[in-house]
């Protein structure tokens, strides 16, 4: 069998390392790029290069950004006394899309999952506590800041997310800061019939006046 040209097999190998892409998909993508206009492949190459060269983690909220501190952390239009704690950078995007939240964020980069060996020390929890202390002492000069009055725990509503939220709440509550959690219940468009008892139980407990 004739071996593949070296650049093609290199690209297939590179695509195969991406999550959710197997060897077949990797080959399809590589051959698509081979046949496509040069501009398509070059744009992709430039985008990949820029991704690594021009992005960093904000040293305040640990979100992915193009400068440090990120635009949200330096904005004087945001409420720096309200801190929304999320698991991943994509969660920030999801909450921003609602246009309902005016506070700032803190990205943990994961959730507590003992069975996978991820404990509190592997997340940005110590950084969160440090950030709260700094805001309290008003020792930050390069960006707007305010004493934290509310921590909104927006970790995922699964066991790992709940454990993470419980753990953080246990650390924060003694500081006298209000700790809130995203409401849990039935999703829009869902069927009551298919709801599990935990979700339905929480929806009942959190019912509201009409």
């Amino acid at each position: 069998m004739q071996p593949l040209a070296e650049p093609v097999s290199q690209l297939i190998d590179a695509f195969s390392q991406l999550p959710g892409i197997g060897p077949k998909t990797a080959s399809r993508l590589a051959y698509y790029l081979l046949r496509a206009d040069d501009a398509v492949a070059l744009n992709l190459a430039h985008a990949l290069e820029a991704l690594k060269a021009n992005t960093l983690f904000c040293s305040v909220c640990h979100n992915i950004a193009d400068r440090d501190p990120c635009p949200i952390c330096t904005s004087d239009q945001r409420d720096h006394g309200t801190l929304c704690v999320v698991e991943e950078p994509l969660d920030v995007q999801a909450i921003e899309r609602t246009r309902e939240y005016q506070g700032v964020y803190h990205v943990l980069h994961g959730s507590i999952s003992p069975v996978d060996g991820v404990g509190p020390d592997d997340l940005k929890i110590a950084e969160l506590l440090q950030r709260i202390r700094e805001a309290e002492s008003d020792s930050v000069a390069d960006r707007p800041t305010a004493p934290v009055k509310e921590i909104l725990l927006a970790t995922n509503p699964n066991l790992e997310g709940e454990a993470t939220a419980m753990y953080i709440a246990r650390l924060i509550k003694p500081l006298g800061i209000r700790v809130t959690r995203l409401a849990r219940g039935l999703p829009v468009g869902g069927d009551l019939e298919y709801a599990d008892e935990v979700t339905l139980g929480r929806a009942l407990a959190g019912r509201s006046e009409m």
Binding site: G119, R170, V198
Partner: protein, 258 residues
């Protein structure tokens, strides 16, 4: 003739999950008749998923699964027991993680073990009843009892009643433990063997009781903290000797047990 997809119904406890693709998850489960099984749950990371809540960690669910090339696909899921109270306390979450990891590490796919299934359900039900902070001693006792019975049901039961060398019944004196041999040596046979460690008769007495008795006979037992600590230490090291690597969930368990 059209290919017919084979569909099977099973009960399962969700031991662990990992994200796969855009919105799918691979769930590792323990089942009564199929042993440990991995299934794929399509689309359960979407908020609109009807199955997500029924496939949460440690949930006991009824599943319908269809054969597929790599992983059988979960087509239906309904909660049988959600263990709601267990989820409200970090210490019980830590303990449930530990139990799930032990079951995961000590079992193989398609290896039916009905008593082990019963043991897993009993342990989760008991944790669900012991989610108060003042139930810590009962939780610790449950974990030691669970470890000993898991070892028994998977073929690693430590020999606590007879000397590994001469076979004589062990006397209620200080005997000598060998983790690598999986049991105890009497004082006479232990002479000259440097790899053994002394085990107090009080600790041995409780270990034997936990190994022999079912949970209803054990749960009201009051054990001195020093003995509990020594049992935990011995059993953890025995588990490590068998598994040959560190259990991931123990750090968090110790962290939240405080």
């Amino acid at each position: 003739m059209a290919n017919r997809i084979r569909s099977t119904g099973t009960r399962a406890v969700i031991l662990r999950r990992r994200d796969y693709g855009d919105a799918d998850r691979i769930v590792t489960t323990y089942t009564p008749s199929l042993g440990k099984q991995e299934f794929i749950a399509k689309g359960i990371r979407k908020t609109s998923s009807r199955k997500a809540g029924h496939l949460e960690l440690f949930t006991h669910s009824a599943l319908q699964v269809a054969d597929a090339r790599t992983w059988p696909i979960i087509t239906e899921a309904a909660t049988i027991e959600s263990f709601r109270t267990l989820r409200t306390n970090l210490a019980t979450i830590g303990a449930a993680n530990y139990i799930a990891e032990l079951i995961d590490r000590f079992t193989e796919a398609n290896d039916e073990n009905q008593p082990l299934w019963e043991l897993l359900l009993l342990a989760l039900r008991e944790l669900d009843q012991a989610a108060d902070d003042d139930a810590a001693p009962r939780r610790a006792l449950l974990l030691r009892w669970f470890e000993l019975h898991l070892l028994g049901l998977t073929g690693f039961q430590p020999q606590l009643f007879h000397c590994l060398s001469c076979g004589e019944a062990l006397e209620p004196v200080q005997n000598f433990l060998s983790l690598s041999d999986g049991g105890l040596y009497c004082p006479a046979c232990a002479t000259g063997n440097r790899d053994l460690e002394a085990l107090d008769p009080d600790v041995l007495k409780v270990l034997r009781y936990l190994q022999r008795e079912p949970w209803p006979a054990v749960y009201q037992l009051s054990v001195r903290p020093a003995i509990m600590l020594r049992m935990e230490n011995v059993l953890h090291r025995y588990l490590l000797t068998i598994l040959e690597y560190r259990l991931r969930s123990t750090d968090f368990l110790h962290h939240v047990q405080g």
